[in-house]
Symmetry: C2
Subunit: 306 residues, 2 copies
């Protein structure tokens, strides 16, 4: 089961973090921007190439420290087709380096469109006699607002070793507007978690966790505690660490008593760690490594992974 | 205001429909598939080229009948970067032909990622001294599950003539699982509509409608009636017509007493109308025209557009 592989990689590296590969044109180190400008000028292709080189650099330097990455589709998609081409290469490269690879889709689709998107990540897109998987990955993060029939096309691959994570409670301030609404005795994000459990039938791995998990922000520790105690069999992806304000003290509540069942997401605080130092970005890898090691230590000061 | 332009185009063509450009590899007419195969073989590039040619063909033949199109990003995205490149061309082509062009994103993103995505549709992505708008369009359809701060990056362009439509109540069967939950005296989809109204301050056009609208499925007429009477100032995008089971009799409730304030979405029933006839697709345009005209007549048998 794929969730077992994720948990095993976390245990082996003694690090329950997942780094978000979300490049941003403004923050990519200058030497990478200069390099692509020479070859591609001031084009979207140049920006996409810079995203790719920077992502490759981050993936290279963290591969023995960080077990998993989340490739943020929105970042790459904003650059158009060139950005999406770069993202496909980043997904492949991360897989080749041995990472557990999540595609952060942040989508919700229906019918044939959902079927095709699920196939593009987990199955094959058939063109005549040839099959392609443009976004091959181990898991996706998506929205469940449209309900079961929007998620089923993806979860139908869970029995073949793929994971689906549903946004239950996001880490942003306005999350409460919809996600915290109380309906009967359940809050909306609990309804999402209940749906994830319902879809999980027959999909539990050796570690006891389901192939279907949820995303729960670290910025609200009450929510985190409540969900962890109620949904022992759901693996949590936990955004909100670092740049968004939550720390290891908050994130600790995402784990069960064996230090399992969660991966803490961090993006900017690791990718752009170099900005806190006056070197213009030429040593961005060194600072990313230091930030990732520090994050690991912080988390391990609160939990022990068995 | 952009919503006024949409309403005016509807009035002028006396047709409140929006055609969903959602190509599907399996259903594209054979002669288009043969044509691209000769040039590109059995590749994703070939499939993307077929999507593009078919979309162009549909856009060409409906331009004097249909006022607006929704380009379904999921369909094109499933083909990887080649599909996205084709989508960018389809968006441009639709605009050039004079359509009101919606990008059906079906996304929800946060922070810098949302900022960049909004800029990629409504503003400019800056690469050094050059600016690009890979997905230039008049409006987007997106999810509001993450709340105000996920939507703001997009609605901040509404004062510059762009529309944002939020999924309130989708047309699929499982929509009820989350969207129909009752919280206090409001159902979740009403909360979405209330948020759309709250975000609309200062964004009402001459026709009285807000630049921010909602999507409400035609498959549940009770919902449609309730929302129409309660949210007089929100423009509705109404999926679920045709292939999904709803008819003009249901969709009529999306309009106000002046026959305004809504566009009925239809995809498969128009794009693949040729499949009901035994010609293998060589006259797909003729059948698409007939289906679009029939849909228009059906709707106009229930409403009058003033």
């Amino acid at each position: 089961m794929s969730v077992d592989i994720l948990q095993e990689r976390i245990r082996k590296l003694k690090n329950p973090t997942m780094v978000c590969i979300s490049p941003s044109a403004l923050e990519i180190p200058m030497q990478i921007k200069d390099q692509v400008k020479q070859e591609y000028g001031e084009t979207l292709k140049a920006a996409a190439e810079a995203y790719k080189l920077f992502s490759f650099g981050i993936l290279d330097c963290l591969k023995d420290i960080v077990p998993a990455v989340s490739v943020v589709s929105g970042s790459f998609t904003a650059l158009g087709a060139d950005g999406v081409a770069a993202m496909q290469e980043v997904l492949q490269y991360a897989k080749r380096l041995g990472y557990y690879v999540l595609l952060d889709m942040m989508r919700c689709d229906l019918g044939q469109t959902a079927d095709m998107l699920a196939a593009s990540c987990f199955g094959t897109i058939q063109v005549g006699g040839q099959g392609y998987t443009p976004y091959e990955c181990d898991g996706v993060l998506m929205s469940g607002y449209l309900g079961s029939d929007s998620v089923k096309p993806f979860t139908s691959y869970c029995s073949q070793g793929k994971n689906v994570f549903i946004i239950a409670r996001s880490s942003n301030k306005s999350a409460r507007e919809v996600q915290d609404l109380l309906s009967g005795d359940r809050v909306v994000y609990q309804v999402m978690a209940d749906l994830a459990m319902r879809w999980s039938t027959g999909l539990f791995g050796k570690t006891g966790f389901s192939e279907i998990g949820i995303a729960v922000g670290a910025t609200n520790t009450d929510v985190l505690k409540r969900l962890r105690s109620k949904y022992e069999q759901l693996f949590f992806l936990v955004p909100g660490f670092g740049a968004q304000g939550a720390g290891a003290k908050d994130a600790q509540y995402a784990f069960d008593r064996f230090g399992r069942g969660a991966a803490i997401l961090a993006g900017r605080s690791i990718l752009y760690a170099y900005q806190k130092h006056d070197d213009g970005g030429s040593n961005y890898q060194q600072y990313a490594i230091a930030a990732a090691e520090k994050m690991r230590e912080q988390i391990l000061s609160y939990i022990t992974i068995y």
